[in-house]
Symmetry: C2
Subunit: 160 residues, 2 copies
DNA sequence: GTCGCTGCAAAGTCTTTGCAGAGAG
DNA sequence: CTCTCTGCAAAGACTTTGCAGCGAC
């Protein structure tokens, strides 16, 4: 199983870069750089999980209680970031929408239906094949996502 | 581009079969077979689209106005069908949850970000590769889904 | 007949919006 | 200073639930 990768510790974009991109984006649209917006970006960056608006809000309140950031601001910032393609949203079954930074290396998702854990992976062969399919069907591909559902190694043990 | 298929006119399961499976399922759980439940199944079967609860409800009201089926029943029936794996739900971006019959042949989705059209396709190479990946990562795969986003052939013409 | 089902409307969730004061540029 | 942002709370959108009568078995 040569080229399957699940190790994303090497982020493709460093935080400083991300932050500066964000500032450029804001400036370009005559929007203001506020501490709340930075905190949302930073918290997303420092989380390895896929966060719901609610869990992101909770995290922010724990780390920066003095800001008493409102959930509305989290929603507004996520919408802004998603619109600008800086974050991506995923939604799996009944679990609602989850967000992740789009600046990480592209990857697909493997979702455990027992514990809800999401493992990321990349497979070059599938990536290439997706491009072939899109062009064969005369489709101008901009993005794609793939999810594999099942039971993770851990939960297989536990369930037994 | 040998084995990409987008033609799903040959359904893998005929309606009579589907209906009988549904009846078995109901009986097994001491649930009742009602006209409303049948109408939901039938309407899903006869639709080639991916339906939201709301659009499904609208369709049912148009085709069977005398039943004055409530939206609550549609939600309840969809939940029942999904739980029993007879339908699958998908959710793409902001467009909300859409349902489709799971009994059709397995396929993936290509979603036009301009007109929202969903084209279904199957590619054997990707199907196989997904199995390989799951087993390589010690993951017991139960299902998977893949979406390619982009602009369909039609909209590419129009946009020009 | 019994007991689950249905439509209705009310209650929940989750998300968005209006507003007045706070704060970035 | 101006004009956008923010938190709050209220409003919306979508989904689920309680209930009393209806209907499958």
């Amino acid at each position: 199983m040569s080229n399957i990768t699940t190790d994303f510790n090497d982020r493709t974009v460093e935080y400083e870069q991300l932050l500066s991109d964000f500032k450029v984006l804001l400036k370009k649209n005559t929007l203001k750089f506020t501490i709340q917006r930075e905190v949302v970006l930073e918290t997303l960056y420092n989380s390895d999980e896929h966060l719901t608006p609610e869990s992101l809000h909770r995290l922010i309140q724990e780390k920066f209680p003095e800001l008493s950031t409102g959930i509305a601001t989290v929603y507004r910032t996520l919408a802004l970031l998603e619109e600008s393609d800086m974050v991506t949203s995923l939604s799996f079954g009944a679990q609602g929408k989850k967000y992740e930074l789009g600046a990480k290396m592209h990857h697909d998702h493997m979702i455990c239906t027992v514990c809800g854990e999401i493992t990321e992976f990349v497979d070059e062969e599938i990536e290439e094949r997706q491009h072939s399919i899109a062009s064969a069907l005369d489709f101008k591909m901009s993005d794609h996502s793939m999810q594999i559902y099942g039971i993770c190694a851990n939960c297989q043990k536990t369930t037994k």
